[in-house]
Amino acid sequence: MSDTVSKPAGGLKAWLTSDTPASRLQARAIGLWFAWSDLVRNPLAVAGLVIVVLLILMAIFAPLIATDPPNQQNLADRLMAPGVGGHILGTDELGRDIWSRIVYGSRVTLQVVALVALTAPVFGLVVGTVAGTIGGWTDRVLMRITDIFLAFPRLILALAFVAALGPGIVNAIFAIALTAWPPYARVARAETLSVRRADYIAAARLQGAGTLRIITGHIMPMCLSSVIIRVTLDMAGIILTAAGLGFLGLGAQPPLAEWGAMISTGRQYLLSHWWVATMPGLAILTVSLGFNLLGDSLRDVLDPRGAQR
């Protein structure tokens, strides 16, 4: 959400709150600015934003924040309690520092989130806008396929895909993306239907714009805000699914520091060394809580229609 990019002609604040925008860019910036000020007025939204920003910073500066390399084993120090021997959150069964592994694990989590967020919504957007714009049989077939995927149990389907493709973080991401796109297609189609009879579309068509141009240039931008809200709300679910796959041993493979996989190894020491499984779980909980808080508030700000839930 960086809206402090443009020229500060006569003070940035005045430019951002002007009643008479001089350019399209300014109009858009003003809209974003008001959405932003609505957002930061909500303490829960700020909390969510802070968590997400911290996650990103943690991933970028992992080598600086972590106290040890994530895979550095030290069997003499195995299963040490939090705080003992300079290990803030203790060590795991191979003497690896849990705090450092959680810090590096943020990279894996962010990678999963980013890759799914860049693929599934885009695919759903294309399917939804194409179905909505063209209509007729194309619409019926595409939406039927969407419904079929929507009716599937997501985790089970992801499991089955991973079973076929083999365990691993890339396959897990692929499986999650494959099961995550249908809601976006539905959302995009609904938005498309609401604008496709609009005058500006007819005007574009009269000017000779082809279907492809209308979809990419005039319809897709209208669907973006709904899709973005949906993405933010879905992030938590994606993180939980990825962690679940990791926990089952189907996602990230050892020794990669992934939070779900870390819980899985900690499970063996649960009753004697509680921190091994507890700490990565707290990390997952915090991050998905952050995305949920942010998504909830984003929806209130950007989409007043859905605000009541």
Binding site: P153, L248, I284, R309
Partner: protein, 365 residues
């Protein structure tokens, strides 16, 4: 609370049948036909996907059977026998026929037909999901109502936090933490598994398998010590799964109730002097129940799926555990068979909720 809750149900039913009138049946029949059609199409899609997954596997199924030392002729013979030399559409048709007859092939892990494994594992999953949904409904609906009535006050905030935590918590982690506290530290409940080991050994002798549900079977067999032992084991997974169901149901109840409480008939009822408790719990909740039925069915379906992780944590011998164990044994028949069964249950529940919606809500017809 649950008393009031129970009392409003017959009233709703009466209202519904009064509104419904005469032309109800043909409309439901038409709707039913549509639902049945989309059911068939969706199931077909599910099978296309599972079939595609089976084809995706880098392992050659024929090679897996004959092993690396087989001659070319042996390999070809097995390939022909398994129908792998047929064109893909023919193979799919064969697969379709097999599935319809309930033949999912043989599990490499248990070397029994997959369908038999599924039949013995499914009741355990169903038992867990049913009790958890029950918990979610009994606690979630009243909680949602209370929070809607107190919108913006502390009960509402508490519920929001409970809901948000529920949406953000990894179910397997909550299960582990619950085990750590209530089994490891406090010793209030039994550990993983359906029974203590001592009971597990003599289970077959003490209990007749009527339904496959351990609670029902042990109660019917009069083995009350088994029953109570099973209860201490099932409590924790039910509470863990039920919490997620509660988070979802209470949040939706709140939103439906807010919608109803803003309607004019509520004001009219208040003006007439109907006691507030009756307005909320009978009039408003009665109408909120209509969309809620869909929500409850959806959460039930989600629990059937969510049980995969929970069952792994609690070593609960249901379908979820079966699928994950099969995954690690590279037992694809079992994985796909289990996927199809859960998928079918999921799809049927989804569509059933759709259908129920039209039955209870006259406006949706």
């Amino acid at each position: 609370m649950s008393q009031t809750h129970g009392a409003h149900d017959p009233a709703t039913a009466e209202e519904e049948s009064a509104i419904a009138g005469t032309s109800l049946l043909p409309r439901i029949a038409g709707r039913f036909g549509k639902t049945l059609f989309s059911l068939v199409v969706t199931l077909f899609g599910l099978l296309v996907v599972t079939f595609a997954i089976a084809r995706l596997v880098p392992i050659d199924p024929a090679l897996a059977v004959v092993g690396p030392r087989a001659t070319q002729a042996q390999y070809e013979a097995v390939r022909t026998e398994m129908g792998l030399d047929q064109p893909i559409p023919v193979q799919f048709a064969t697969y379709l026929g097999d599935v319809v007859r309930g033949d999912f092939g043989r599990s490499n892990l248990t070397s029994r037909p997959v369908i038999e494994d599924v039949r013995s594992a499914f009741p355990a999953t169903l038992e867990l999901a049913t009790l958890a949904t029950l918990l979610g409904v009994l606690l979630g609906v009243p909680a949602g109502v209370v929070s809607a009535v107190n919108q913006g006050r502390w009960p509402d905030h508490v519920l929001r936090v409970v809901g948000l935590l529920g949406y953000s918590m990894p179910v397997f982690w909550l299960g582990l933490i619950a085990l750590l506290i209530f089994y490891g530290q406090l010793g209030w409940v039994g550990g993983p598994g359906r029974l203590d080991v001592s009971y597990e050994l003599s289970y077959e002798l003490d209990v007749t398998a009527y339904t496959g549900s351990i609670l029902i079977d042990s109660a019917l067999s009069g083995a009350w010590d088994v029953f109570f032992n099973a209860l201490t084991h099932i409590a924790l997974p039910v509470f863990v799964l039920g919490y997620f169901s509660l988070a979802y149901i209470s949040r939706m109840t709140r939103s439906f109730m807010l919608e109803q409480l803003g309607q004019e008939y509520v004001t009219a009822a208040r003006v007439k002097g109907v006691p507030e408790r009756r307005v909320v719990w009978v009039h408003a909740l009665g109408n909120a129940m209509v969309p809620l039925i869909t929500v409850i069915a959806l959460s039930y379906a989600a629990l059937l799926e969510g049980s995969v992780l929970t069952e792994t944590v609690f070593a609960w011998p249901g379908l979820g555990l079966y699928i994950t164990q099969a995954l690690f044994a590279a037992d694809l028949n079992a994985v796909l068979g289990g996927t199809v069964v859960i998928g079918v249950a999921f799809i049927v529940l989804n569509l059933l909720s759709d259908l129920l919606y039209t039955v209870v809500d006259p406006r949706a017809r």
